[in-house]
């Protein structure tokens, strides 16, 4: 038996050594170490074949290619696609060049992003929000008009906000690989390229709803959940049902006693492991339809779960203090984010604090 086992490769990422199987990418190896070392991924999605390499958020520097050939790689490489070699040394957060490139990527992604987080349903579980919080700046150097698109209606279940799209192609791969026929793709090119159906056509098949889950931003959102609530006020609960078309394993998002949203279950990297059908997602929203398994126990590192939105992290400005003085707090159990249940280790705060809070002038 021992002979058939592949030899493990040792790769060092940010000074932490980890042993992985051959063929593993740098990103997967880093994820094995933990969320503090894992590079951000905006377009890479493990369950989707061929995804990755597009957003360039996961760029890392390879300081030594392998034990045999310890030369560094000349350019930053996309960690989601680069396979590890034995003895490879990777610099992720420890390399200023990588951080600089990543700051640049955030800036580029936000150039044409409308920044309408306050009205966006994705806020709170948005990859771009997390990424921008870690690497972005509070100000912009961009003065020109942002690109806009003509609105497209793609059916009764899915809302397309093309302005928010970062063109990660995840939904295109989903449409290709999960659903029966490819119904939408990318049209146009450059910063005018857009996700859409070629002829104005509703997306209609059993698994189309999964594009909502794979979307890293709020470009594809659930129409049945639209403007219903904020993510952090809702309580995720694992549940399942006997579904003839899919696995039926879902996460129900409760507000009080009411199921207001159904999504597929995601792992700690925000990746869906088992895709669900539209009937489960959009049409089964009664508690009685489901067999409840208990609260969702996956700890995802997002802006909210890391408590980066905590009010006391920031010294309130005069305007905020005035507003606080005039504001009468209403006691509501929903004020507490349910995502905060799983606290992250305190080192994480220490790391993000100095850069996240800028002193007031």
């Amino acid at each position: 038996m021992e002979d058939t086992k592949p030899q493990l490769l040792t790769v060092t990422i940010d000074g932490i050594a980890v042993e992985v199987e051959p063929g593993t990418t740098i990103l997967q190896a880093a994820r094995k170490i933990g969320p503090d070392v894992a590079p951000p991924a905006m377009c890479y999605y493990q369950p989707l074949k061929g995804s990755g390499g597009k957003c360039r958020a996961c760029l890392v520097r390879v300081a030594a290619g392998s034990a045999k050939d310890p030369r560094p790689m000349p350019k930053l490489v996309a960690s989601c696609l680069t396979a590890v070699q034995d003895g490879m040394v990777v610099e992720n957060t420890t390399n200023p060049q990588v951080i600089d490139a990543r700051n640049g990527i955030v800036e580029f992604l936000l150039l044409n992003h409308p920044l309408d987080c306050p009205v966006c349903d994705q806020a709170g579980e948005c990859d771009l929000q997390n990424f921008a919080f870690d690497h972005g700046k509070a100000t912009t150097r961009y003065e020109e008009d942002r690109r806009t698109f003509e609105k497209k209606d793609i059916g009764p279940y899915i809302q397309l906000h093309m302005t928010r799209c970062i063109l990660c192609y995840r939904c295109v791969y989903t449409a290709d690989q999960i659903t029966e026929k490819r119904v939408h793709g990318v049209l146009g090119r450059g910063d005018a390229s857009e996700i859409g159906t070629y002829i104005e056509k509703a997306i209609d098949n059993d698994f189309s709803g999964n594009v909502i889950d794979v979307c890293p931003v709020g470009a594809l959102t659930d129409k049945t959940y639209r403007f219903k609530n904020r993510v952090w006020f809702t309580k995720p609960v694992d549940a399942h049902r006997n579904c003839p078309t899919c696995s039926g394993k879902v996460t129900l998002w409760y507000r009080g006693d009411e199921v207001i949203r159904v999504t597929a279950r995601k792992n700690e990297w925000n990746e869906v492991t088992e895709f669900i059908c539209n009937t489960c997602r959009f049409e089964t929203k009664k508690t009685s339809d489901w067999i409840i398994e208990g609260p969702t126990k996956v700890s995802r590192s997002s802006v909210i779960s890391a408590n980066k939105y905590r009010a006391d992290l920031e010294k309130p400005s005069f305007g905020k203090r005035l507003a606080a003085a005039e504001y009468k707090p209403i006691h509501d159990e929903r004020d507490m984010s349910q995502l905060n249940i799983q606290q992250l280790p305190p080192e994480r705060f220490a790391k993000t604090l100095p850069s996240a809070v800028e002193p007031e002038p």
Partner: protein
């Protein structure tokens, strides 16, 4: 007269027909290769010739051929990249239009060397008439038994397909070209795997420029060593240069690599000098994507020696004082040209042609274009120049394909060498936006 390899017979009337081309010694390379040589011997000759890729990157062609994976039972492909769309480059167009059989002969020899039984010529969609010329030439060659089944009784089969592209610049990038050829959206692929391992339809593929393939027939006829004797150092052979801009005689010229830039510009045999009454201001030596150089640096190296038309000499001094030979799009500017406007124009092109796949290029090219547009039209801010440099740095090297670099280099180099001109545009917006207004401050005119 310098040695001419590709354009030797280009002025012979009727050279685009099979019979005339054959009379001028055409298709002898096919006969020689198929009857007397093995594929490995041809690869060896091309390696000896040291011919470097003429599409822009300058990667040794023989090396590229030898990297081709040869697994059993999997077809191999040769694709000719005739999607020439770099602003300032028009040599392949010229070659295919006038002497199509040269390319076809090269394709037969190269396909035989690589063991490809189906080869493609991917021509950009705008050149429909060139596609017709090529198709006519292929039909002629087929009728004479130089294409199709059992060529010249050697048992080797080759089918040659001319495929029009949709007219996107990005489809000149080899992996985007392959995607486009497969009928998909022309997005560059992530590398590795390289096309030599997984290319067209996931089979080993070699993608070569028109000019590179066209040289192979001469190499077969005369030997790799004879080819290597032409040129200078590692830049062997001849190169087609598409000369355009403010010169007396723009056009396509075949030069021996190693010719001094000064001779090329001023000698009557080639460009014939700057147009009368004007002075030489700047030079883009290898198509719009390579760094622009001011006149003094274009003619001499940083150490005062003459700059030569070769891969090494043009890139001498890195990007601080050098540029690249690229695809040979030689654009010359006199003192009436505004570098800011020109940079904006190049930038506009890259913004329009970015495929939109990876974020730095998709967003960055548009941003640079907008900032340059603003400066050119008198709305620039003091911090805009530094902003442009910063944006170009954040694009460069962080993208999937070299289009990001190609968009960043002209902007970065224009600011590196002509910063005063940008500053003048920002400081004197009213003056700078007058029709025909050009910076007349201190600069090195020749």
């Amino acid at each position: 007269m310098t040695k001419k390899i590709l354009t030797e017979h280009i002025n012979v009337p009727g050279i685009d027909t099979f019979d005339v081309y054959r009379q001028q010694g055409g298709y002898t390379a096919v006969e020689k290769a198929l009857k007397t040589m093995t594929p490995d011997e041809i690869v060896e000759e091309v390696k000896k010739a040291g011919v470097r890729g003429r599409g822009g990157a300058g990667f040794p062609m023989g090396m590229k051929w030898s990297y081709l994976a040869k697994p059993e039972g999997v077809p191999r492909y040769l694709v000719c990249n005739a999607d020439e769309s770099e602003p300032g480059t028009f040599k392949d167009h010229y070659l295919m239009k006038h002497i199509p059989h040269l390319l076809i002969e090269g394709m037969i020899v190269s396909s035989f060397a690589l063991g490809a039984n189906k080869s493609f010529i991917y021509v950009r969609g705008e050149l429909m008439y060139v596609i017709r010329i090529l198709e006519k030439a292929i039909a002629e060659a087929k009728a004479k038994g130089f294409l199709g089944k059992n060529i010249l009784g050697s048992g080797y089969d080759l089918e040659l397909v001319v495929q029009p592209g949709g007219g996107a610049y990005i489809c000149g990038e080899e992996t985007a070209l392959l995607e486009s050829l497969e009928g998909k959206r022309g997005n560059p692929r992530n590398k590795p795997p390289f096309p030599a391992v997984k290319g067209l339809y996931q089979c080993p593929t070699v993608v070569n420029n028109v000019e590179s393939i066209a040289t192979t027939s001469w190499i077969i006829n005369n030997g790799g060593d004879a080819y290597a004797a032409i040129g200078v150092g590692r830049s062997t052979g001849t190169k087609l240069i598409s000369a355009s801009g403010h010169m007396r005689k723009p056009g396509v010229y075949e030069i021996e690599l190693g010719l001094p830039v000064e001779d090329f510009i001023y000698a009557d045999e080639w460009c014939g000098g700057i147009r009368p009454g004007h002075k030489f201001k700047a030079l883009v030596a290898g198509g719009s994507s390579v760094p622009i150089l001011p006149a003094n640096l274009a003619l001499t190296l940083a150490n005062g020696e003459k700059r030569l038309m070769s891969y090494e000499s043009l890139s001498d001094g890195g990007f601080a004082t050098g540029t690249m030979l690229g695809s040979g799009g030689f654009i010359l500017f006199d003192e009436t040209s505004c570098i800011v406007r020109n940079t904006w124009n190049f930038s506009r092109f890259y913004h329009h042609e970015s495929c939109g796949q990876c974020s730095p290029c998709r967003e960055g090219t548009g941003w640079m274009e907008k900032v340059l547009h603003r400066i050119e039209h008198g709305h620039g801010h003091q911090h805009d120049i530094d902003l442009l440099v910063d944006v170009s740095k954040k694009i460069e090297g962080n993208t999937i394909c070299p289009l990001g670099d190609a968009a960043a280099w002209p902007v970065a180099s224009a600011i590196r060498h002509f910063r005063d001109e940008f500053q003048w545009h920002i400081d004197h917006p009213t003056e700078a936006t007058q029709p025909g207004a050009v910076y007349r401050g201190e600069m090195a005119l020749v």
